[in-house]
């Protein structure tokens, strides 16, 4: 199929008549590009997963689990809410959720940008490995658990145990933090951090002042950070 003409009218999938498999198969065309509209997602799982081409996918409605999982290159915009694990293991590209996201948004994501317009619930950015996540609202408990690289920006509040067992990811929170997880501490906001945050907010099209945020990171006191433990095994 020839699908690389970006000027072509958008492809349209209505998930009340087309299957998720048909949609995803089309999106798996490695030479694909251009706009794809998806209507009536009705909370179905695994919509637009595994894309590795510069598609622009627009989904009109609420989606179920793992939407835009493993995304590479594509921009996926959800005009609604997301179930568990939106953009999990994203490699690159952008995923924009206009509503709220359920648990484990952006879990293990390695690259790209995830923007959540509403709130994200528990475990947002769990085991984050290099992607950036910007949440306009608040995040639930255990967010950024064991996060290794990348940034989590929260414009609202953060729930219990933020950044528990954190590695090198950076957390920026504007509102209240219910509690910090093990080894997560507040850190000084230096110029480089203000600059990084400004760029992330701009990329996410969020109008907020970086100076209103606090930075949190790892105190590097847990077992894995102790040089004496390196030779144990």
């Amino acid at each position: 199929m020839s699908a690389s003409q970006t000027a072509a009218p958008p492809l349209h999938f209505d998930l009340r008549t087309d299957t998720v498999r048909a949609l995803n198969s089309r999106l798996h065309d490695p030479d694909g590009a251009g706009r794809v509209q998806v209507s009536n997602p009705d909370g179905r799982h695994a919509i637009a997963v595994g894309i590795d081409a510069p598609y622009e996918v627009e989904i009109d409605g609420h989606v179920g689990y793992y939407c835009a999982g493993m995304n590479k290159q594509a921009t996926v915009r959800v005009h609604g809410n997301c179930g568990v694990g939106v953009a999990e293991n994203m490699m690159s590209g952008r995923v924009i959720v206009e509503g709220s996201a359920s648990q484990a948004a952006g879990a293990t994501a390695r690259g790209g940008l995830l923007v959540v317009g509403g709130d994200a619930s528990a475990r947002c950015g769990i085991s984050l490995k290099g992607a950036n996540i910007v949440v306009r609202g608040s995040v639930g408990h255990m967010s950024a658990f064991m996060a290794q690289r990348g940034c989590l920006v929260v414009c609202g509040d953060a729930g219990e145990a933020l950044g528990d067992s954190l590695y090198e990811a950076r957390l920026y929170v504007r509102g209240e933090v219910a509690s910090l997880g093990a080894d997560c501490i507040a850190k000084e906001m230096r110029d480089e951090h203000l600059e990084q945050l400004r760029a992330l907010l701009e990329a996410a099209e969020v109008d907020a002042d970086p100076a209103d945020f606090r930075r949190y990171g790892s105190a590097r006191q847990l077992y894995n950070f102790k040089i004496d433990n390196v030779g144990v095994y």
Binding site: G83, S102, Q103
Partner: protein, 301 residues
Amino acid sequence: MCGIAGIYTKTEALRSQLGDCLARMLGELSSRGPDSAGAAFYRDPAPEGWCKVSLYSPQVDAWPWIADALGARFEQARLAGVRATHAIVDVAAEAEEVSAWLLEAHPELTLMSAGRTIEIYKQAGLPSQFVRDFDLAGIEGSHALGHTRMATESRVTTEHSHPFSTGLDLCLVHNGSLSNHNRLRRTLTREGIRIQTDNDTEVAAGYLTWRMREGASLEQALEGCLEDLDGFYTFAVGTAEGFAVLRDPIACKPAVMAETDEWVAMASEYRAIAVLPGAEDAVTWEPEPGRVYSWGTAVVA
């Protein structure tokens, strides 16, 4: 994994579609729980001074005589309806008295629920089969809870299916598993709470019954779960007036809630809400862990 669903109607028009709404919700949740399915409907109240019991017997021809036997014992009783293996009987007596007599005189029957408005139906097997066998789509009422089960803690039988009755006009459906149910079952049994199976959810139902017997409101009893139950749970509790929802503080199990001018609904996943009329315009949100949500005047005195 299991699936749970609840719907509370706000308009007269939707009451006639209650069973159809719940049937469609259960259809979407079938993949979360293909072992068994069940439902509690709140409908058609028994007359003043009467009660209503839901009975289960695998022998389908068992019903006319039980209404006669109840009539003989309590002066008046009538068979209000039969659906598959279940019968609803209205009896001119207090629900506690009728329940006690049934358990004593007819241990071969399973008492699924008692009260003035609740009816419980459940069956091992695919949810779609349950919906067909019980003609669920034809049931009218004010509100309903449903469950699709994927068993982890105990056997797959009709008796082990949800909802579990937790007292008069009360029932519980559960997604999750409890770790301390064996110890809690012993405690509750000592307190005189009757538990019929080795199912973990039935212990949670018994716990709510016990707390409310001791004077707690439904809300207080649910808050007690946060302290006394160890494990994972999203609970939905049905009452004569509405329903309540609670998730464990770690939020291991999913839940979505939604509201329009016509209904309030909860489900394990949004796809089970998407089948309701006007769902695309509903306000939807994820209930916070460790917080009791309730609709109707869902607090029992």
